[in-house]
């Protein structure tokens, strides 16, 4: 019922390995480098297909727009950098040259979230999901582990249209296998349950699993959902979870505003309004520190998911407009 832990590996390796697979399958896949190819693992593609790798240097606006030109000439260009620089610095290029053009451009945004660690706030992108999911024609994927990152990378290369994949630097729990289903536009139910729905993305999916195990000790069966396809969004799976469970917690390594939590709130607000608690970074910048330390400090562990589940259920049981019994999750800790 609960998925098993199979190991630990960074999602960026899934991106790098997926790119190599794409390179083997499709001769028109090309990769643009933004100087940090070793960090975002486009170096694997570069080593294997040097003729299809082009260094653009530290110029993310240019790289994004050159990618649009390559796509308009029939190529499938991937450009990868840190998400801090290839999602927002080039925001206008993504909006006009990529999305308005419906250019077949693929962006890999690495080092996402605070788990980047010691590099500090400048490099810890926590806002890009909010922006990217508002772009018409954009597909936005946030894989939960290595295997899913690899599958997502291949899938975005084999679909037509603009797409962005978000992945991280640090190792994260591996709990899916090459056989686990992955489909753009589909959320995966990782654990069954009808008492509360824990809806996570990226590294927080596993924290939801851990929280579900703790809740089970109290006799509460949580449904855990992995939303790796933020856009297109799986309205059916999330709506069903809201109807079946009546209380939701969202969890993401992103600002609580307008990311996965926002997408879930938009969906349920229209289809099945239920109490939602949001786990994420609460309107602040990150900072230097070790990844695990930061996840604790910023409240992105199973403990916050667990506590929020209790709050969400309490609100549900008091009626959807009920007063919050536990006002501050921090106090609960």
């Amino acid at each position: 019922m609960t998925p098993t832990l199979l190991g630990s590996k960074p999602t960026r390796h899934g991106f790098g390995d997926g790119l190599v697979t794409l390179g083997e399958r499709h001769s028109n896949v090309v990769v643009l480098g933004g100087d940090i190819t070793g960090s975002v693992l486009t170096s694997l593609f570069k080593d294997k297909f040097p003729d299809r790798f082009f260094s653009i240097g530290i110029a993310e606006q240019n790289a994004t727009t050159i990618a649009a030109g390559l796509a308009l000439s029939g190529k499938i260009p991937f450009f990868a950098s840190y998400g801090a620089f290839c999602a927002l610095r080039n925001a206008d290029q993504l909006r006009i040259s990529v999305c308005y053009n419906e250019a077949n451009v693929k962006i890999g945004g690495g080092h996402a979230g605070i788990s980047v660690g010691p590099d500090g706030a400048t490099h810890q992108i926590l806002e890009e999901v909010a922006f990217l999911r508002t772009l018409p024609h954009m597909t936005l994927l946030v894989p939960a582990d290595y295997e899913e990152a690899k599958k997502a990378t291949i899938a975005m290369g084999e679909m037509v249209g603009p797409a962005y994949i978000r992945f991280g630097r640090s190792p994260v729990p591996l709990f899916t296998t090459p056989d686990t289903p992955f489909e753009i536009g589909k959320a995966q139910v990782v654990r069954e349950g009808n008492d509360v729905a824990l809806i996570g993305s990226g590294a927080l999916v596993w924290e939801c699993v851990l929280a579900a195990e703790e809740l089970a000790k109290k006799g509460i069966q949580a449904r855990v959902i992995n939303v790796s396809s933020i856009k297109p969004f799986d309205f059916a799976t999330v709506t069903a979870a809201a109807r079946d469970c009546g209380a939701i917690v969202t969890a993401e390594e992103h600002q609580v505003h307008a990311g996965l939590g926002g997408a879930v709130a938009e969906c349920t607000g229209k289809n099945a309004p239920v109490p939602i608690e949001f786990v994420g970074v609460k309107d602040s910048f990150g900072g230097s520190g070790e990844p695990e330390e930061l996840m604790e400090k910023f409240g992105l562990t199973w403990r916050e998911v667990y506590a929020s589940a209790l709050v969400a259920m309490q609100r549900r049981d008091k009626g959807s407009t009920g007063v919050r019994a536990i006002k501050d999750v921090a106090t609960y800790q």
Binding site: A59, Q61, N62, I66, A68, L70, S97
Partner: protein
Amino acid sequence: MSTTTVEQKQSLDFNTATFENRKHKPEEFAEIANEIRRDIIRALVRAGSGHSGGPLGSSDIFAVMYFGGYMRYKPEDMSWPERDRFVLSAGHMCPVQYSTMANAGMFPKVEMGTLRKYGSRLQGHPGRDMHLPGIETSSGSLGQGISIAVGMAMADKLIDKNDRRVFTLTGDGELQEGSVWEAAMSASHYKLDNFCWIIDNNDCQIDGRVPDVMNVYPIDDKCRAFGFDTIVVNGHDYADLMRGFDHFLDNQRNGTGKPTCIIARTFMGSGVSYMSDKYEWHGKPPTEEQAKAALLELSEAP
């Protein structure tokens, strides 16, 4: 036979724009450029908004580029895969591109009357989603088209290894966008001698003269420093414009490994005396009265 409208007839008259049928003599361009200008005025006055100055000022450049055989295309089939590419980086200047395309026969001239109207293929700034034959990309946010064109030139020269030519036109105020220089750097880094960058140097932008708003001069030295084979021409002298484009063709033919930059010195609003060299005409259309005067002046022009 029969119901050919005046506009269609005009369109057919100019439907000689294929590269097999290029114009060779400088004096042959004057009539085309004049017609391009007249159609710009007619379209803008109907639209009631839009940019007059840049499009009129660059009409001679467009006449030579599209009708001089420098761009190879089939007006009746702009999805022809081997066609050369033109990217209008200065998207707000699209009235001149639309007018040139219509005069080349890529779409019916009557459609010029829909400029900027709801549902029109002639969007206020080029929109690829409207599928107007001859529009290769959306543009309008300055500084991006040139990078798109570099990407296209890379696909041709480095990957597909064909002999396609890629042209792009930026304004001079547009050079204030930093990413233009990122694009320039990459064009010379990848030795894109199939890439031709035209700068419409009219020295005007919305707020005033270019050096008053933010100085971009010396442009030619900058382009040379960025690795471009740079040639400065009079943007209203057809022979001089041909010299610039011929220079580009030579670069590509001889495989010099150098991208070409043609700096065309122009007057904003040229051809219409009350607009000429006046930056106030950057972003507004003529009134009915002003349009009449402009059309009269243009029809009397040699």
